[in-house]
């Protein structure tokens, strides 16, 4: 009787499938909004295609698309005149150093594939502003493009360095995450500041965080963030800039870490990052650091 059972079940399945068959298929030749947004290409689109899509497969979305962004925020798209200055700066400060150190194949494989550009800052309820966000190793959102200036632009004052520097921080931070997610950071790294990671990082500041051996307040949030904050800050501040950060630590933290302990932790994490770049990616971190920092100095100092 088992045969019968299978027989009927088979038939039943056929009935189900058969019943979906209809004579007229819907006309789906031209479904709105699913074919991607189109517009007449401008020289700016061509520049982005030639400079970023062809060599690295990185797309840049500068035209407004609310669905790439937080729906509860008032934001505005960037001024077209800011797109090339920003993306060419990104190329000099992030792409070129990694391509030179890691090779173009390495870079193409791991780089985030989409940049979304926003003209204004993203204002938070507490009055602070967000200058960059990222999602899933694929997308990086850069804000405040309309106020972007580097030192080649007229009217540049040193205070203008804050916005580009924050952009570099975000990009190097996110790329650090991608590297970490592909080849995990050394387990020793998580042990260095074990017990000091806290969800309360938001209520501290960089100065207090450094007294505990963290490079920024955000680094206190988890080993995961600590690792890439180390990478990002070391790269954008350069070796002597990082040394200055370490040497500036004084006093004992509110959690009882002495200045010497804090310095030792930062140095230990520094050497673990350098070691990780060497072993995992065959990249000499200090050379990479010099390249990034030199590019940044040329850009904003």
């Amino acid at each position: 009787m088992r045969f019968v059972k299978y027989y009927f079940l088979f038939l039943f399945g056929l009935t189900v499938l058969g019943s979906c068959k209809k004579e007229d298929a819907l006309n789906v030749d031209d479904v709105s909004g699913l074919g991607g947004d189109t517009w007449v290409k401008t020289p700016l689109d061509q520049w982005l295609y030639d400079s970023l899509v062809v060599p690295y497969n990185i797309a840049t979305k500068y035209k407004w698309d609310q669905f790439e962004l937080e729906l509860n925020k008032d934001l505005v798209p960037p001024d077209e005149s800011k797109v090339i200055p920003v993306m060419s700066t990104v190329e000099r400060v992030w792409i070129n150093p990694y391509v030179l150190q890691g090779g173009v194949e390495f870079f193409k494989k791991y780089c985030p594939k989409l940049f979304v550009l926003v003209g204004s800052a993203s204002f938070n309820l507490d009055g602070s502003i967000t200058l960059g966000t990222a999602e899933g190793g694929r997308k990086i959102v850069l804000y405040e493009l309309n106020d972007f200036k580097n030192k080649t632009m007229p009217g540049y004052v040193p205070a203008d360095s804050a916005i580009p520097k924050q952009m570099f921080h975000v990009i190097h931070h996110e790329f650090g995450h991608i590297l970490d997610q592909n080849i995990r950071r050394p387990v020793e790294f998580d042990a260095v500041c074990k017990g000091l990671y806290t969800a309360d990082w938001i209520n501290t500041n960089d100065y207090a965080a450094r007294q505990d051996g963290f490079v920024t307040a955000y680094a206190e949030s988890s080993p995961f963030e600590d690792f890439v904050e180390m990478i990002s800050i070391m790269l954008i501040e350069g070796r002597s800039g990082f040394d200055n950060i370490v040497n500036s630590i004084t006093g004992t933290s509110s959690r009882g870490t002495t200045a010497d302990e804090a310095k030792a932790r930062l140095r230990q994490k520094e050497s673990l990052v350098v070691d990780y770049y060497k072993k995992a990616w065959s990249i000499d971190f200090y050379t990479l650091q010099t390249r990034v920092r030199t590019a940044i100095i040329n850009e904003i100092y």
């Binding site: 009787m1 019968v4 059972k5 009927f8 038939l11 039943f12 009935t15 189900v16 058969g18 019943s19 979906c20 209809k22 007229d24 819907l26 006309n27 789906v28 031209d30 479904v31 709105s32 909004g33 947004d37 517009w39 007449v40 401008t42 500068y62 035209k63 407004w64 698309d65 609310q66 925020k73 008032d74 934001l75 505005v76 798209p77 960037p78 001024d79 077209e80 003209g119 204004s120 800052a121 993203s122 204002f123 009055g127 309309n146 106020d147 500041n205 100065y207 207090a208």
Partner: protein, 447 residues
């Protein structure tokens, strides 16, 4: 029931039933509309697109922001997703066309998106320093709009986020010319009225003198005058621009005539005067060193208000405006290693003391707290002519700086001629130098 029965009775029944259910889906397809939704929405987009590009002289656009301001734009759309724009937001937007991009897209409704930064985005920019609105929301405006209706000469749209209404009316060549030949820019030059170095901006209309106070961000204008029985009167209205002048949202009944607005003849950048035409009669707005009538009790009223409302203090965000320059002494640049200038306060009898205090306050971001680092103790002397003169007593808290923005603020504050007070709202006063009315400070009550 044994197993055999089960297969021979139940299963065929199930099969029969399911065949019924599924075959019941088979229907003749009946459509309410002739076309599929996708076809129809693409048709609509095409139709809207060709309407936008069809007007060779472009479109006159009007938008009312969430904060209440009425703004005019001129859009010219071409078929390559480019739009050329003028706007009566400021002198630059009124005189120089800006090119940006637009596209039509099916969102929940067919939508017009101004998708790179343009003059329209100035209103929506969440950075308050761009448009004078609050940080995080700007003037509450839109740049993504859903189409509401389409007629031959007009298109109505509604913003997708804030519901801002945008009206497009087909423009004539004359409308376009009015932007291109500077007629609008000439009108928007009205905002230069605040470049007049004196606090008091005086104009004579129909034989009556008025002091004007214009807020170009909120777009309000206040008239102050002395009535027949010698009392000060005030009228405030919101205004917007037209291609020829300023239009009042509420007409001003000026006794002998009703004023709906005025034509702007031109701004004189040498003498700092603005010539206007009110109901056809030309007149000139110019600076004045004295108020029309001194509000004799205002200084005392100002100080008493703080004493009577929780013994609090008056605060000024930007310090002194001098010769038309806001924060002329740069008080906003005051810093310490751990804190930054927050506001300047005037505190009558702080915490039961016998003196009044003037001090900049500092915000310590890491503690989210305000700090007083230095200040001065002073005594207000109320004069019968309506002036108040402050006399210095001694430094309080710490040693007051002898140079820099704080020192400049102190020496201006202690001006021997003293100050007039102008009440501008229930909790706002302007304190105006009696010497020449070219220095003033705005006080607001934080409570």
């Amino acid at each position: 029931m044994n197993l055999k029965d089960f297969y021979w009775k139940i299963v065929p029944a199930l099969f029969f039933f399911s065949a019924l259910v599924f075959s019941s889906c088979k229907k003749e397809e009946t459509r309410v509309f002739d076309q599929t939704p996708d076809t129809r929405i693409n048709e609509a987009l095409t139709q809207y697109g060709s309407a936008l590009t069809s007007s060779s002289a472009g479109w006159n656009a009007t938008i009312k922001t969430g904060t209440g301001g009425i703004y005019h734009f001129h859009f010219r759309f071409n078929e390559s997703n480019r739009v050329f724009m003028f706007a009566d937001i400021n002198l630059e937007t009124a005189s120089t066309a800006k090119e940006s991009s637009y596209r039509l897209k099916a969102l929940q409704t067919p939508a017009l998106i101004f998708d790179t930064y343009s003059y329209l985005h100035i209103l929506a920019d969440p950075n308050g320093s761009v448009n004078g609105g609050a940080d995080g929301q700007g003037l509450i405006s839109d740049f993504e709009f859903g189409f509401d209706s389409l007629a031959t000469d007009s298109i109505l749209l509604t913003g997708r986020v804030h519901g801002t209404k945008l009206t497009l009316i087909k423009a004539t060549q004359q409308d376009l010319d009015a932007w291109q030949n500077g007629a609008w820019a000439n009108v928007v030059a009205f905002e230069n009225i605040n470049d007049i170095q004196n606090y008091f901006k005086r104009v004579n209309i129909g034989g009556v003198n008025y002091d004007l106070r214009v807020d170009p961000v909120a777009r309000t204008i206040a008239f102050t005058w002395v009535d027949g029985s010698g009392n000060l009167q005030q009228f405030v209205t919101a205004y917007y621009y037209s291609s020829s002048g300023v239009v009042f949202e509420t007409p001003f009944n000026a006794g002998s005539q009703t004023i709906n607005g005025f034509d702007v003849v031109g701004w004189n950048a040498v003498n700092f005067t603005l010539t206007i035409r009110v109901n056809g009669a030309a007149t000139t707005i110019a600076g004045a060193p004295q108020p029309l009538k001194v509000d004799l009790g205002a200084p005392q009223r100002w100080r008493d208000y703080a004493l009577n409302n929780g013994a609090l203090y008056w605060a000024s965000l930007n310090g002194f405006t001098v010769n038309g320059v806001e924060d002329a002494f740069g008080i906003n640049t005051l810093r310490t290693d751990t804190s930054q200038y927050f506001y300047l306060l005037y505190w009558p009898k702080p915490q039961g003391q016998t003196f009044d205090a003037l001090a900049p306050t500092f915000l310590i971001p890491s503690q989210n707290a305000l700090d007083l680092i230095y200040g001065i103790a002073l005594t207000p002397n109320f004069l019968v002519d309506g002036r108040v003169v402050f006399s210095y007593l001694f430094d309080v808290v710490g040693t007051y700086p002898s140079t820099g923005p704080a020192a400049l603020t102190r020496s201006q504050f202690l001006s021997a001629q003293g100050y007039y007070f102008i009440q501008t709202g229930p909790k706002t006063y302007d304190m105006v130098s009696a010497a020449d009315a070219k220095a003033w400070i705005t006080w607001q009550f934080p409570g």
